[in-house]
Amino acid sequence: MAANPMSQFDVYRIGPEIKIGAFDISFTNASLFMILSSLSILLVFNLGSKKNSILPNKLQLLAELSYSFVSKMISDTAGSKAKPYFAFIFSLFMFVLFCNMFGMIPYTFTVTSHIIVTFMLAAFIFIGVTIIGFIKHGFGYLKLFVPSGVPAILLPLIVVIEIISYLSRPISLSVRLFANMMAGHTMMKVFGGFVISLGVVGGWLPLSFSVALTGLEILVAFLQAYVFAILTCIYLNDALNLHH
């Protein structure tokens, strides 16, 4: 079972089966790591904001640097109007980042390697951004699909392309994160399997790859969280400041 590189993505029940109506909402390993990630985030940022000293300690510095980092990211991409959504984007970035990073620990479960989780996040963002757009601009938000300066002949084609690209946003957003996490973890598992199968003689090469991949995967874990958050900011920017 351990040799199968996909078995690391198995979801299994922890404790008894819980059912509400026809729906099975049992506590699983995925739920465990969601709770662990959330609790770690809350712990780190609670400890980091407890004391307000002029010279911050390490945790406070970490919390404040993260705050400024996300704050700068939002104001750079979505402008000052996006300020009310700061808390959501901050939570989103931290949640994805911590889930990705927890997945880098051996024998853990990567929450973000499941398409349903990333798709739920992306769908929530998509629906939320669309609602914000319609609230801010009314039906004028539909102008998003009609870019200015396009020749009239090309307009029908462009509008169709724009609508398709808009509707595919949640899919691209969720699949990007899910596929990156799954591919990376699968590959690490495959190389780990090579180390075992090639043994002491030939196992050193895949082992060194495995070490390098670990570094790369940590980078990818951060980068994908960043990309997820910054794409959310860009979608929000479209809804808040209609550029087309």
Partner: protein, 196 residues
């Protein structure tokens, strides 16, 4: 290099996945909908609670901390700037006082010098006058003395010559003839001896 290997291995792993798809009945666990509802439920729950706590409790605190630090730093900078301005003003004042007192000292020095010069000039004039007076008096005295001396010398010369002649010749010589000779001689050589 690392990137190339990375992508090659992704291909490789997908081959591997394909084989396992064929071998195992489940395939990708991600596509098994058995726990989808559970995952959605727990995601909503944990993310929702985390978001609420972060946005209501923790993030405002961090933003407060950042703001207060910023304002404190700004205040400190302001205070420092103010103090610098104060010190600049004090320095200017000090410089002014120093230059003023230098000017004052110079003027006092000049005044004192002038006064001293005036005093010296007046005293010199008085002294010069005194000296001139004294010199004039002395010259007068000298003139008188010279005149007297000439007469006295002539007298002495007449007396001594008459005495000498008496002792030499043994007879008395007429005084008037001797005095005539002396007068004549003194007139001839007086210039040489007395400078007049």
């Amino acid at each position: 290099m690392v990137k190339k290997i990375y992508f090659q291995s992704i291909f490789l792993s997908f081959f591997f996945i394909k084989e396992t798809f064929a071998a195992e009945s489940g395939g990708m666990p991600q596509l098994n909908p058995e726990f989808w509802v559970s995952q959605i439920f727990w995601l909503t729950l944990t993310f929702g609670i985390m978001y609420l706590i972060l946005s209501k409790l923790i993030l405002p605190k961090i933003s407060n901390n950042l703001e207060s630090r910023k304002s404190q730093i700004l205040e400190n900078i302001e205070a420092a700037e103010k103090q610098r301005e104060d010190s600049d003003a004090k320095l200017k004042e000090y410089d002014e006082i120093i230059s003023n007192s230098k000017l004052e000292a110079n003027s006092i020095l000049n005044l004192a010098r002038e006064k001293a010069m005036k005093d010296i000039g007046a005293k010199r004039k008085v002294l010069d006058k005194q000296i001139d007076n004294e010199i004039a008096e002395a010259e007068k005295e000298i003139d008188i003395l010279r005149k007297n001396a000439l007469d006295k010398i002539n007298k002495i010369a007449i007396e001594t010559s008459s005495d000498l002649l008496q002792k030499l010749i043994g007879t008395e010589v007429n005084n008037s003839s001797i005095s005539a000779i002396v007068d004549d001689l003194s007139k001839k050589k007086g210039d040489k001896y007395y400078g007049n």
